[in-house]
Amino acid sequence: MNKKACSFLFLVVLVAFVSVFSGCRSKKPSADMYGDNMLGDPLIGDVALNPDNMGLPMDGDRSLFAAVMFAYDSSQVNPEEAGKVEAVAKHLNKGKAQGVIVEGHGDERGSREYNLALGERRALAIRDYLINLGVDPSSIQTKSYGEEMPSAMGHDEGAWRQNRRGVFAIY
């Protein structure tokens, strides 16, 4: 009996500890940016993109940083992916590059035009996060490829997971 109560107490403490700890962790990529919106979608406020993308570079080096992965139909930067964005912010803030083109991609499910908008929202979510980390907005351009440029060619969850991504092209 006593043993049971003891283990129960232990469980309660463990649950409380885990929830507090994980709560802290999920807050780390700036809680006020996400607010309480469970659908995700950080938007620190409609920061206009560079007015004319004609003068901007078309391409950059994609090999420097790992791609940010997204959940199905979501444009939220997940806490476990935030470190990838922070690494890019550090690189840019140190003046090691001129800027970055954030390329948003989606998996093959859903309509092509909707996926184009979704890919843009993924790129913009990363852009907003970079701005929040102090990166100059004028050095971040977004480009959505929708479902047009998959990195994995399969038609299963494994391939779809790899294709829902935000790629950093550094220039």
Binding site: N53, S111, R112, E113, A117, Q141, Y145, G146
Partner: protein
């Protein structure tokens, strides 16, 4: 929950209504039998092509059944070719009272024999039924047949395929100018997704970020377009004369996509996911509060608003995409009967009766023609390469 129940009821009722209608008409008794056995052609390929294309067009129209005996209508006349030109005479008579419904002569260069047959087919359909045919229409579509996604155009029977762009880039979501002469599409040919028009080098829209889903108004003066220049994909109207932008949506937590115009040009139907899933909304061209059109299905995307007042769209029901049509004025909804494959990106054919869409089976996308009345789906373009995003000319 009650609303959901109501929505399900509406779908069931409309579906059973459709099923009844199909049953009644399935025998083809509603079709007019037409006899072309008396039509004379030369022995050359061109004039034989003319007759076979004309017969196929009449059968595909849904209004006729081409027979060789005992028809209600007789087609007389002849088709001759010579000197690089073709001449086709065509008379249509009612067998019962010998009343002449059509009597005309047509000419075209021999290279345009298919186009000539399409024109004659539409004239026969109009003369007999008073309705606009679709045979002379064109389909704009995208294929990766060269390894890149380029823009193509074909006839309404899936033949006469021409490659339009050679940009070696990506073309997305083509649509027609209201005059049916040019095509508006999204391309990455200059690096970023911009909206272009065929026959014009300069982009129609090239703001920072996303420029996509350009749809030109029926009067040809403005374009509905999705832009992310202000930090989020939103629906805008851009004046094609002055370039002036009017922003219609402000959905910081949502995506907008796929706008299309009402036939009178006063409203725009588009996709938004502000409710948590992509659904279709209607907004006035002057802005204001959008009205949600769709409530059933986990996803409703890719609307096309026909001259007939019906919005046709792709609806995800039970894990697969089907074609639905809704009339916003009458508040009706109907799901078309299709097989197990995914049917997406529907577009009204010029006759307002048929729908052209993509059909995806085993990850292969082909182009199909669906009849909203009674005929079975017809494959227009299929094979070992992908064809998608079809858009019919007006």
């Amino acid at each position: 929950m009650r609303r959901l129940f109501f929505a399900i009821c509406v779908v069931l009722v409309s579906m059973s209504a459709v099923a009844q209608r199909v049953e009644v008409r399935k025998s083809g008794e509603g079709k007019i039998s037409i006899n072309l056995a008396g039509y004379r052609t030369g022995g050359d390929t061109a004039s034989r092509t003319f007759l076979s294309v004309l017969k196929a067009d009449l059968n595909r129209s849904g209004y006729f059944k081409v027979t060789s005996a005992g028809a209600e209508l007789n087609v007389a006349g002849s088709c001759v070719s010579g000197g690089g030109n073709m001449k086709a005479d065509c008379q249509v008579y009612k067998v019962s009272n010998r009343q002449r419904l059509l009597g005309k002569s047509y000419k075209a260069p021999a290279s345009g024999v298919r186009g000539l047959a399409h024109r004659v087919a539409d004239e026969i359909i109009y003369a007999v039924t008073g309705k606009k045919g679709m045979a002379s229409g064109k389909i704009a579509l995208v294929s990766n047949r060269t390894g890149r996604k380029e823009l193509y155009v074909c006839d309404m029977d899936g033949k006469n395929v021409r490659q339009i762009t050679k940009d070696r880039s990506i073309v997305v979501g083509p649509g027609w100018m209201p005059d049916g002469k040019n095509i508006v599409y999204t391309s990455y040919k200059r690096g970023y997704p911009n909206v272009y028009m065929t026959g014009r080098r300069k982009p129609l829209s090239s703001h920072g970020g996303l420029n996509a889903s350009g749809a030109v108004s029926p009067d040809g003066k403005s374009m509905a377009v999705i832009l992310s220049r202000d930090g989020n994909p939103e629906l805008y109207i851009k004046s094609l004369r002055t370039g002036f932008l009017k922003r219609l949506t402000r959905t910081r937590r949502g995506n907008e996509a796929s706008p299309c115009w009402s036939p009178d040009g006063n409203h725009i139907a588009y996709v938004s996911d502000t409710s948590g899933s992509p659904q279709i909304y209607i907004i006035s061209r002057t802005g204001g509060r959008p009205q949600r059109l769709t409530s059933s299905g986990t996803e409703n995307v890719a609307p096309d608003w026909g001259e007939n007042g019906y919005i046709v769209f792709s609806s995800r029901v039970g894990g697969r995409y089907r074609i639905s049509m809704a009339n916003p004025a009458q508040r009706t909804l109907r799901v078309l009967e299709t097989d197990w494959a995914d049917y997406e990106d529907p577009s009204w054919a010029p006759d307002g009766r048929h729908i052209v869409c993509s059909r995806t089976a085993s990850y292969r996308s082909s182009i199909y023609l669906l009849d909203t009345l009674e005929d079975s789906p017809v494959a227009l373009l299929s094979g070992s390469i992908d064809w998608f995003s079809p858009a019919c000319s007006p």
